[in-house]
Amino acid sequence: MTIREKGYAHWDGQLRERRFPWTPITSLGIRLAYKKKYFRFISFGSLVPAVVFLVGIYISERIEDFQYMLRGNKQPLEVNPAYFKTYLCSDFLLFMMVMILVVSGAGLISDDLKHNSLQLYFARPLRKKDYLLGKANVIVFFLLLLTLIPGLLFIIFKLLFAGNFQFLASYPWLPLSVIGYSLFVTAFFCAYTLLFSSLSKNRRYVSILIFTVYLFSDILFGFFYENYKNPAFALISLKANLQQVGSWFFRLKPAYAVPWHWSLLILLAFGIAAALVLVKKVRGVEVVK
């Protein structure tokens, strides 16, 4: 069809002011992520631990029915805050979260930088915070699917399988811990991913950065810890810091003999630095001085 064969017509609707102007950005980010085959595979794989832990909760309530499987193991399967912490702070879950960030988060800002689309966003009635919130909420959506949703489902299923509220009476603060830790880890990974995504126009470099920094900080910690036996080296590992803070959320003793608030401070400092960089890097026009 050639130009103007169909003609231009004015739109007779009314442009409205959205309460949350970032929603189209988030919904587009989620849709684009699910278009990728790798992402579907990884997101499916990352749900496996949730299923396993859910089965664990069922078994804990029907322990007599599964005695033959325990083969003389006298240690009962107990669902308590440590069970939740084990799920939410497990190496595997954190690793899968990083993989999700690599596939779905790396290009969030870097693609816009590479293809000059920031100016299109900011030519709309959007503020910088709306843009950043829209991008961050893509990550929030995927990470809360792995943390908050399973965590709350575990509590609900525990109550359903038990048929009473004994569990909640014993740990009334547990839902808040699940919510608090899920939001904390999600907020940290948002800052972590968006920071790297805003540093380069090349999505591959960003993916490598996201993956390497997480892994390398842990390898470095392992190396120093094995050689010097000093638990303070846990502070250089992102994973160990998240697990230390997780222990506090679930009122458990931290795995390493380092105050949990040091880890919290390090992660918060990282988040603040990321926010400062993002505010500086994300703008509608390249201002050349």
Binding site: I3, K6, Y8, L15, L32, G107, S117, Q119, L126
Partner: protein, 303 residues
């Protein structure tokens, strides 16, 4: 009135990009001209609210450029100079996405995206991935996303750059159609003078951050100067020096004609007197139509 600005100043560090610009832009298609670094893009960015002026005031469509930027952007369409896209998307989703961001309901934005893509000539390829688009198609796509929310004012930054002559002609036709028949005001920033000349009725010429000329194209041609083509017989050098001394700008063409820009207030008979005194015969004396190129050259002080 689509925009009014007064005493606008903007600097990038110590480099002055805009130096006391005051303008009132009437409705219609307006061309924004100027050499590189004249401040065209800065002016567009300030009008859109990307940059905040260090001094001065302004209103676009009645909204304050400092305080009501979101409202301005809701009613303005912007087609940037650079290629812009979101990888992994087709044109319909892309265009609808920006319609939604402008405040359109999702369903409406989707429907409208189809309409504008047909309008700009991308109807058949609207489901193709944007990465596979040619330069001309990307240019049309940028126009589509700029008009998807039916703006009252359209800012076009170099709309015909990277296009072949055929593509250029088609984009200009679209712009002309939008500005003349669709009641959408258009502000075009371009280096290509003939594009501005073919589409715009009014021009703003910027030079070194200052306003060099502004007005209706027809009026500017009339008021600033008159252009004559003259051929003389005899010693030309003295004649040329004499009329230059009278305030005329003289260019010699390859075929021995003189193009003489005569100031508006100057009596034309002065030229003949000068010829007589220099003992030259005026063999050819024809009033010529001034082109925008002439106007531009005079405004910014280049040949």
């Amino acid at each position: 009135m689509i925009a009014e600005i007064s005493d606008l100043h903007f600097s990038y560090g110590h480099i002055k990009a805009l130096d006391g610009i005051s303008l009132s832009l009437a409705e219609g298609a307006i061309g924004l001209l100027g050499p590189n670094g004249a401040g065209k893009s800065t002016l567009l960015r300030i009008l859109l609210g990307f940059l905040v002026p260090q001094r001065g005031r302004g209103r676009v469509l009645g909204f304050d450029i400092r305080l009501e930027q979101p409202r301005i952007r809701r009613h303005v369409g912007y087609m940037p100079e650079d290629d812009c896209l979101i990888p992994g998307m087709d044109a319909v989703t892309f265009t609808a996405h920006f319609g939604e961001l402008s405040g359109m309901p999702r369903q409406e934005a989707m429907k409208r995206a189809h309409d504008v893509l047909f309008y700009v000539g991308l109807g058949e390829s609207r489901y193709r991935l944007l990465e596979t688009y040619s330069a001309g198609m990307k240019q049309r796509l940028k126009l589509a996303q700029a008009i998807v929310h039916d703006p009252r004012l359209l800012f076009l930054d170099e709309p015909t750059s990277n296009l072949d002559p055929h593509g250029r002609k088609e984009i200009l036709e679209l712009i002309q159609d939008i500005s003349s028949k669709k009641d959408i005001q258009v502000l075009i920033s371009s280096h290509i003078l003939s594009d501005i000349e073919s589409v715009c009725s009014e021009v703003v010429i910027l030079n070194k951050g200052r306003l060099a000329a502004h007005g209706k194209l027809s009026e500017l041609r009339e008021l600033s100067y008159r252009l004559y083509e003259i051929r003389i017989k005899g010693e030309g050098e003295g004649f040329v020096s004499r009329i230059r001394a009278l305030g005329c700008r003289v260019e010699e063409t390859e075929d021995k004609f003189l193009r003489v820009y005569v100031p508006a207030e100057m009596d034309i008979r002065e030229i003949f007197r000068a010829a007589e005194e220099e003992k030259c015969q005026v063999r050819h004396f024809v009033r010529s139509q001034t082109s925008l190129e002439d106007l531009f050259a005079r405004a910014v002080g280049v040949d």
